[in-house]
């Protein structure tokens, strides 16, 4: 029995590569996605959305059949590169869709340079550097980056809320800096003033001292923390008296925080945040997409509505399908025609029209949401505005943006921005 099994397996192993080569009429897409670690649930939603986009196109693009291979990562850069190498070298994929998180994206940018005859379309990773510092010719990103997600919020709080003096508390790592930069650039140019900045290590659980250190004469506190850190902060902030308004970064009011149990999250009511999507976006393109998502999967196997990660992978797949259709599935000549189509054709997505710039980075819409009380005491995000055509340099020229420096604790310099704008 064992021997027979072994023989079959060996036969299959020998037969498989030749079978794959024989099928010229298929295009292989590798899905590079985190299925372990903190983003595992979001990663699974990414896979679902790739399936959804492909099934809407009947698994065909450019007259060829699309085959997918999932390569799971654990959000660490080295696993990501190892899995990408496996996709290219063993599975022989033509296109990679992924990865999911920031540091993975930077690793994939560097890896992409070693595979010039293949194309990488980013899943949802959001590090600014991926398409800003020394970008790869064959790496395309159709989602906005962490800095862009923060845009629009600053002018909203200054103009609509009249909050001009804020103190900021944000997580002391790359995404914290980048997302804060997007907020700060917009905020400072609108005439806001950042009184004091606090950077807290990831995984801090006791913010009592930081809360006490808040200056007295501020209009609001900007919070660039997420997950459990955010819940701990809100809990302790409420116990300390909750004296001022809050402004949230992109991960502040996500589902992790809004679905937490207990009353800490109630401090969030009325807090504006900004991000890639708005759940109650009335745009028909978004509504149709949400409905298609809900119809495609049984209720217990999906989120109530698509997650940020899911939307990212969905849009990336749409981009691949559109470009493959444009070139009739022709991937010869090192995929040059395909890349040209990716880079130049505007893409209609559930989040609005997306166009790429010379770094192959998307410009698009950022949504401003506010946390409100929903039915049955739950908290939901309500869309209150949007900023359209947010580009990679946040409306500055490339030189100005470069002169400002890469996101860090002290960048951007608020006073300099206020004068320049």
């Amino acid at each position: 029995m064992k021997k027979a099994l072994l023989a079959t397996a060996m036969a299959a192993a020998i037969a498989l590569p030749s079978m794959a080569m024989a099928q010229d009429n298929t295009i292989k897409i590798g899905i590079l996605v985190a299925l372990e670690g903190a983003f595992a649930e979001g990663g699974a939603d990414g896979v679902r959305n790739v399936e959804l986009a492909l099934s809407q196109a009947n698994n065909m693009a450019g007259g060829k059949k699309i085959e997918t291979i999932v390569a799971p990562t654990d959000t660490t850069p080295d696993t990501t590169v190892r899995q990408a190498r496996k996709l290219i070298e063993q599975d022989g994929v033509d296109i990679i869709i992924g990865p999911l998180s920031g540091s993975e994206g930077i690793a994939m940018r560097d890896y992409a340079k070693t595979i010039p005859n293949n194309t990488v379309i980013n899943g949802i990773s959001g590090a600014l550097e991926t398409t800003w510092v020394d970008p790869a010719d064959n790496f395309f990103r159709f989602n906005l980056d962490g800095a862009q997600w923060g845009a629009g919020l600053g002018s909203y709080v200054v103009d609509e809320k009249g909050w001009k003096r804020v103190a900021t508390v944000a997580a002391d790592y790359s995404f914290g800096y980048t997302n804060f930069l997007g907020f700060a650039v917009d905020f400072c140019r609108s005439g806001g003033e950042i009184v004091e900045r606090f950077w807290v290590p990831l995984g801090s659980s006791d913010f009592g001292g930081v809360i006490a250190a808040m200056p007295e004469d501020i209009d609001a506190i900007y919070l660039g923390v997420g997950g459990t850190d955010a819940i701990n902060f809100l809990n302790q902030y409420e116990q300390a008296g909750a004296e001022t308004n809050l402004i949230g970064g992109t991960i502040m009011a996500d589902q992790t925080v809004l679905t937490s149990r207990g009353r800490a999250k109630e401090a969030l009511v009325g807090t504006p945040t900004s991000g890639a999507l708005a759940e109650d976006n009335p745009d028909p393109a978004w509504q149709n997409y949400v409905k298609a998502y809900q119809d495609a999967f049984p209720e217990d196997e999906r989120f109530p509505s698509p997650s940020l990660f899911g939307v990212g992978y969905y849009v990336a797949t749409l981009a691949a399908i559109q470009a493959l259709n444009a070139v009739d599935g022709d991937l010869s000549d090192g995929q040059n025609a395909f890349r040209e189509a990716l880079a130049t054709t505007p893409l209609e997505t559930p989040l609005g029209t997306v166009e790429l710039n010379e770094n192959r980075q998307a410009s698009g819409t950022v949504y401003i949401n506010e946390v409100v009380e929903g039915p049955g005491g739950t908290l939901v995000n309500k869309m209150v505005g949007k900023a359209e055509n947010v580009n990679q340099t946040l409306g500055m020229s490339a030189d100005e943006f470069r002169a400002m420096g890469l996101p860090s604790r002290d960048t951007p310099d608020c006073a300099a921005l206020a004068q320049g704008g």
Partner: protein, 337 residues
């Protein structure tokens, strides 16, 4: 105390000076020069008090841990799971009854019973086999963590403190004196003060129990020499059961406290296991006053570090631990055997 003074006159003087400086820092209004160096007094006071409260929480977890180790030579690496379980049960009880206070006795009893089961069914079978105990307790903590993940899911829980403890209270400690001469007093979250007072009361209670009662006498005798105690006719297994139950119950109560001013989620169990290991290593294995001092030192270093040197705050804890291990490996109040 007088003996200590006579033996170590220089140390006593140093300690007295430190205590005086700390008291002055807390109670006196700060001169402008000091404000320039250390920032506003409110920040310093809040960080200090925050550190003490955090220390109180660590003490609750670590005192049970150190007691169990001291008496049974049993490193219970599932102690963090007892903490998290207590927190979750506390959340359910306080949601169901609407009373935060009722959660404490209920959780204490439930987790204590679980602790007794562990001692009676698991640890008694492997007395004196450190490696087996370590492996089995790690295994138990993994199993418990998965069971809790299955039952309570991955989201975060916070336990709501009762209305009479919500919001801040004003303390009779001067925070700043405005130029107009107005005196601003320090405002501090009420629930943290309650936790601090409760932890101190509990600490004093434990000290009294250990030093003034017959049970305490048995426990202390057991810590010093188990075999001799057993040989003199004491049913030591009962003492073991009582101590294990008490230590487990304390961890459960600490779970409620932690869920009230921090939050509960998967992963907190190992975080608190690590914290109590550090506390016990710094304070000295098996010593209750050692656990108190260790918890205080670690809590203060975390909070002051977060405010004054956020980048390095994570390192301070382990620097302290490494320092203690290098110069006083038995811990600050530990005894060499």
């Amino acid at each position: 105390m007088p003996v200590f003074f006579e033996k170590h006159p220089i140390w006593s003087l140093l300690i007295a000076i430190v205590v005086a400086v700390v008291l002055w820092l807390i109670f006196a209004p700060w001169p402008p020069g000091l404000v320039e160096v250390l920032g506003r007094k409110r920040v310093f006071l809040n960080a200090t008090f925050g550190g003490i409260t955090l220390g109180a929480l660590y003490f609750l977890v670590a005192s049970g841990f150190t007691l169990i180790f001291g008496l049974m030579r049993n490193v219970n690496l599932a102690h963090g799971s007892l903490y998290l379980l207590g927190g979750y049960i506390g959340f359910e009880v306080s949601e169901a009854t609407g009373s935060w206070l009722i959660a404490f006795p209920v959780v204490f009893v439930i987790v204590a019973v679980l602790g007794m089961l562990l001692q009676h069914q698991v640890f008694r079978r492997m007395e004196g086999e450190e490696l087996r105990q370590t492996m089995v307790t790690i295994g138990l903590s993994v199993v418990l963590a998965d069971l809790m993940l299955w039952w309570w899911g991955g989201q975060s829980y916070t336990i709501y403190s009762p209305d009479w403890l919500s919001g801040p209270v004003t303390l009779p400690i001067v925070s700043t004196v405005r130029e107009s001469g107005d005196i601003i007093y320090l405002r501090y979250p009420a629930v943290r003060i309650a936790i601090l007072v409760a932890a101190i009361a509990l600490g004093v209670g434990m000290w009294l129990l250990l030093n003034r009662t017959r049970l305490g006498m048995l426990i202390r005798a057991g810590v010093d020499d188990r075999e001799m105690l057993a040989a003199s006719g004491v049913r030591i297994q009962y003492v073991f059961l009582a101590v294990f139950a008490f230590g487990a119950g304390l961890a459960g109560i600490a779970g409620i406290v932690g869920g009230t001013f921090q939050s509960l989620s998967p992963g907190e169990d190992t975080r608190f296991l690590l914290a109590s290991l550090v506390v016990v290593i710094v304070g000295g294995m098996g010593s209750i006053p050692g656990a108190a001092i260790g918890a205080l030192v670690i809590g203060l270093s975390e909070q002051l570090g977060l405010v004054y040197a956020p980048t390095y705050s994570v390192v301070f804890t382990f620097l302290i631990m490494a320092g203690v291990l290098a110069f006083r490996p038995q811990g600050l109040l530990g005894r060499t055997r």
